[in-house]
Symmetry: D2
Subunit: 310 residues, 4 copies
């Protein structure tokens, strides 16, 4: 009944290689950001890295993709360090219970978004970073690079521009919050920062390394760099567990049982505290906007390894 | 950064004894069920039991109280065993994102409640048990007793009657679901079963023992009785984590970091998988309907012992 | 630009006889009340009666049908007489802006229905009549008969029973309002009265005569019987104009331009103050639940006669 | 029971002069547009003009004020002429049933506003005018001037600028509609036109004359200039009746019984078809955003003259 003390990841990844073939991927690539449609929808990559630096890869795990909303976790991490508990005066920690960019709840709750991972909440986080950072875009990407000691991480300006041209719903959200006094900075500036944030690109391997600090009490075990305190680490993981998958957080907790975060680029990161981080990428999304195959594979892995946190 | 391998629970409970004094309890006893107002609002009890049968108590831990919604977890456990995955055709696993008995979402989602712990969802679970059990009230309490080998657990008919007289919102919920075809049985019968379910009484000690199977892969370690499979155990814990505290599930995950469930009688149960279960009772509730002092004490304990699952 | 002083109703009705043929009726008979499905969906009747007792009929105008929600206007009329302005403490006068039996708004507004013509509002009116009348069902039908000096008007118990068996949404509404303290009487009693109210049967001719008092300042011109004051007459007409057609009140005002009320039995009554009342019956309903052909014919008539009140 | 054929307006206005004194005005000036706070809140003016050119004034009836949302009726009139029935593909004719700039319903109904008088609907109308007019701001004010042959009507750029600085909720609305494809033009251009539209200034006398065409089948009786067809006139009046007072349209229909439109500057215009138009101005607003004293005075007048259309 206890989880196996020893997990044979090598054998597991061999099984995944086979399992992936059998999944009939009925998802569809996100269409609302034109540039994302350029990506080959059949890409599939996965990378797992343990806190003692074992690494397992499969498929297109060394190919860059747009991590999109996954970067909201990194923005939250930095804003939490800068604002401490004051952060929660401007954004909540509760699941949203509705689609990922609904205005209804925001209006009902007077401009305070339910959590930092719905678009409205991420926009508030961006507003905080724009206020706090001297050179927001530059400083933020430097923070991201430092976490995993990886200078090769960058924004994709083509993607950022593409989102800006169609981002009317985000513009509606930020204007609504500004009307309630929950946005300090100029709207164009915050939106520009937000669209760049979402355009960050990583490979599965880079993504897994980038998020390993959340499996190790806030410290990157590879570099001993302390990103956040242990207490904040737990809280970030808790928010991912409850709010990381839009209106499918319950489903993910139920079937995968790890804190995680998805992006419309088809990426998913998941964390097993004290054990590992795992990144998957498969562009076709299910109806709730999460990678169809990515969720299936993670369910396969955690069922196989009994590695749910529950 | 790792949790202490050894937790000195005895020292911890001595600290709790002091900490409890210092909490200025600003909560208020639930008023909508007249009988609950009879309870002394200053009661406080706590009991922790580990999977290797260590037991720690403090305060009024041997006094019976109305566990109310906490019993929804037990009803779910039995219904899950009886229906298997078919269960999820009639109730979801997503957080509700709104107050605990709101009709809005239910109407929007055509009579399918978001999860088994909001009132609507628990009513569907009750409908299933009424369909499946020969003698529902009798069979259910027998199931509850068997879990912890405790024949002293019982309904409180006075509380059940009191709820029935004021339960118009629950009657609205079940009628609405019946209009959508998601209730099979006679409404009065299901409501009667539901109000009895919520009237179950336990002491903190009994409650902790009753729920220990969720910390031990579905098996009661004291009796080796297998209540549910390990997979279902994880899923029940996951649902508690995401939906166990009405519109405060995020707050509880964030601050306490354990799967748990509260009741308007002032009780809370929380589970640390592979380690312990802990029951707290303090009747005054915060604005979201969860025990004010109970949440504070659990936050104190998990911060102290670093025992969050995240 | 002025409406014609003289309207040649006879010629008009000849035209209607032709126009009715050309309407391709794409509506569907209400299916949620089983008994209503028994009615021949191709029935069509119309009757116009002027305040100086000219009468014009066409089609099945002497056949009884279930007037359903149209009777809510009569219930309001009596409750307004009995309660005077106190009535408006328990029900509003604003359009509902959503489907006709939505619970959302009711919950948002703490159990006060938006107006007396949505189901929730009519249930409050019924609760008032149950409180005020000695023998509610008997006294109410006597009031209805007296208005048009017509002893042949009656309930249809078959229809009332049919609705009772499927009326779970109405049961949800009344329970919700009772939870907010806006229902005084026993729920079963009020629902029984409500379902009987909705089961009233009239022919088009009877219906037009019954409502003529609203075109003549509250007095039935045929009998000189004063039903309500002139001020209340205007107010009842105003509420019909704004709330008489569920979520299509705007469309009806826009195209027909008269105060009116529809029922799911396919009937519509409309009033031209100082001129006439007109009743139409055609069972097939449009998507908003109003008689498809009935609305078309009334639009034809008011366009032809320029008899909009606007 | 019939309305008096002859109304002694002179006597009526003498009575009004007295009645106005006795009203305890508990309203508050609109605060969200800073410039509106500059206005003396105790101003009161009223002007009635009949279709046969009788004129009755009282108080500050020759002082210009910001007519705000009242100008939405004029924008609708022009857009209706330009688009004909196609207009209704982009905006509805139903009452909104919620506060005047709520995003909820707009999101629920996929970017189609409920009617042309809520802010969202007026923004769609503005988008149409921006598409259709060569020089929108200039052409529109020329249209307004032509209606009443009054070259002295103008925008107030100070007010328009003031609104622009705080108009985040309108920016949210228009971005949301653009995300649904219901806005054709550049957002900044449409908002600029909208804020100018709302900044139009008139005196009560000018306002009554400007709207007299709606009491005379679409023709200004003073100049014989045909503004719109008789059919459209009725439809515009119908929309005013159902949607002219935000969430208080029922109350206004109920108590005043005339089609009308209010603005947050404290102005109200009301129309008695075939008889007169009447403009009132009193800056203090009730909780629904309509002139407190203005509504009281209009209720007094229509009760006195029995001039409800119902």
């Amino acid at each position: 009944m206890k989880p196996d003390e020893f997990i044979d990841y090598q054998a597991l990844f061999s099984e995944i290689a086979i399992a992936v073939q059998t999944i009939d991927d009925i998802g569809a690539v996100a269409s609302y950001i034109p540039e994302l449609l350029e990506v080959d929808p059949n890409k599939f990559g996965i990378h797992l890295t343990t806190i003692d630096n074992q690494n397992y890869s499969f498929g297109d795990s060394n190919e860059k993709f747009s991590i999109q909303s996954i970067s909201k976790v990194l923005a939250l991490t930095l804003a939490f360090e800068l604002e401490d508990e004051n952060l929660w005066n401007r954004v909540g920690v509760e699941p949203s219970g509705t689609a990922f960019n609904s205005l209804v709840q925001l209006e009902y709750e007077k401009g305070i978004p339910r959590n930092p991972f719905i678009n409205a909440g991420a926009l508030v986080i961006c507003d905080i970073l724009v206020s706090r950072l001297k050179n927001p875009k530059h400083d933020f990407v430097e923070f991201v690079r430092m976490i995993s000691a990886n200078p090769n991480i960058n924004y994709c300006s083509r993607i950022a521009e593409s989102e800006k041209l169609t981002g009317f719903k985000n513009a509606a959200l930020i204007n609504l919050m500004k009307s309630y006094g929950n946005i300090e900075n100029d709207i164009e500036t915050v939106l520009d920062f937000y669209f760049n944030l979402c355009s960050l690109e990583m490979t599965c391997m880079e993504l897994a390394h980038e998020f390993l600090f959340l499996a190790y009490g806030g410290v990157n075990p590879a570099t001993d760099h302390k990103v956040v305190t242990a207490v904040r680490t737990k809280r970030i993981n808790a928010i991912m567990q409850l709010c990381g998958f839009y209106d499918e957080a319950g489903e993910f907790s139920f079937k995968v049982g790890l804190p995680g975060k998805s992006g419309v680029g088809g990426g998913i990161i998941a964390i097993h505290p004290e054990k590992f981080s795992i990144a998957v990428w498969s562009p076709r999304l299910n109806k709730k906007g999460n990678s169809y195959k990515g969720m299936k594979v993670l369910e396969f892995i955690t069922t196989r390894t009994k590695s749910s946190i529950f």
